[in-house]
């Protein structure tokens, strides 16, 4: 049987890790840190939790490498998509800021 072939991890230990990481996440947002640092910390904690779920609850750690590649591909695609969107996003932001500027700068010029 498959279930006897690989030993089950301690699911309760994973549960406590997930619960503790969630509490840390909730605490992090109130820390007196720069917004960027809080963002990086939250992303790292979320990825850690997601990895715990995938590796142990979804048994990815005990599967063949092929399934690992299947699982990691969407993450790579989504990350790439962020970079694809960035230039367009910043162009929009610049247009918005430029539209505001002339109104404020115009009186000073004349």
């Amino acid at each position: 049987m498959a279930e006897t072939a690989h030993k089950h991890p301690s699911y309760m230990a994973i549960f406590w890790y997930l619960a503790i990481l969630t509490v840390i996440e909730l605490a992090v947002i109130y820390l007196p840190l720069p917004k960027f640092t809080i963002g990086v910390l939250l992303c790292a904690l979320a990825l850690g939790k997601a990895a715990l779920v995938a590796m142990y609850f979804m048994h990815l750690r005990f599967e063949t490498r092929t399934l690992g590649w299947v699982a990691i591909t969407p993450l790579a695609i989504a990350t790439l998509l962020v970079f694809v969107l960035l230039p367009d996003g910043f162009a929009v932001l610049k247009t918005t800021e430029d539209a505001k500027k002339p109104a404020a700068a115009a009186p000073a010029k004349h």
Binding site: M1, A2, E3, T4, H8, Y11, M12, F15, L18, A19, T22, E25, L26, V28, I29, G39, L42, C43, L45, A46, K49, A50, V53, A54, F57, M58, H59, T64, T66, L67, V70, A71, T73, P74, L75, I77, A78, L81, V82, L85, L86, D88, G89, F90, V92, L93, T96
Partner: protein, 204 residues
């Protein structure tokens, strides 16, 4: 040449890529596709938010107490899911079904909490096309992403109830082990996605 030769050439019986269970590989491929869907939604959300000048502060507008409890509930339902599989592996069909019921119940409570949260926020003025706090796209993306996830949870509850029936109809516990493990993959994926949604849409 014998008639069997081409078959052997086209479809070798076993390769290093042959999975232990084709059903499991099928579910992983489906989940990878679904993950691209969620990844796209979250990446688009990030893009919209990063370039918006008046994006509301999510955790002060949405409130995170209920959502934190919902996150905890979903993690608990993942634990009951693995417990169900564990009991099925030990040959105890009744305990396995009981834990599957707990999992489905966790999902049902989660969706109910989400319905309550939505109605509360709509009442406060958060609509799909505007809100009193800032960028209109805040509401659009919130309802789209949490709604898409909520549909997945609803689908998961139906899937779980169907699998409980399958386990009940098969006298040999080993006969439904693979089906329950595949259901578990879907359920843990829904939990995993919520971990991301909770972080990106509520906490960040």
């Amino acid at each position: 040449m014998s008639a069997a030769t081409p078959h052997v050439a086209v479809e070798p019986a076993e390769t290093p890529l042959t999975p232990e269970s084709w059903g499991k590989l099928g579910m992983w491929i489906f989940l990878a596709g679904d993950a691209v869907g969620f990844g796209t939604l979250l990446a688009a959300y990030g893009g919209l938010r990063a370039t918006s000048a008046d994006w509301p502060n999510p955790y002060s507008v949405l409130g995170i107490n209920l959502t934190a409890a919902m996150t905890f509930l979903l993690i608990c339902s993942s634990v009951t899911m693995v417990k169900a599989l564990e009991w099925l592996g030990r040959g105890d069909r009744d305990r396995a079904r009981m834990f599957l019921y707990f999992t489905a119940l966790g999902g049902a409570i989660f969706v109910s909490c989400q319905a309550y949260e939505w109605s509360h926020l709509i009442h406060e003025g958060l609509h799909i096309n505007g809100n009193p706090w800032g960028a209109a796209l805040f509401g659009t993306s919130f309802f789209l992403v949490t709604g898409f996830h909520g549909l997945h949870v609803t689908g998961g509850v139906i899937y779980l109830l169907a699998i409980i029936g399958v386990v009940g109809r098969r006298p040999d516990p080993a006969a439904s082990y693979n089906a329950v493990e595949i259901t578990g993959l879907y359920w843990h994926f829904v939990d995993l996605v919520w971990i991301m949604v909770f972080t990106f849409m509520y906490l960040l």
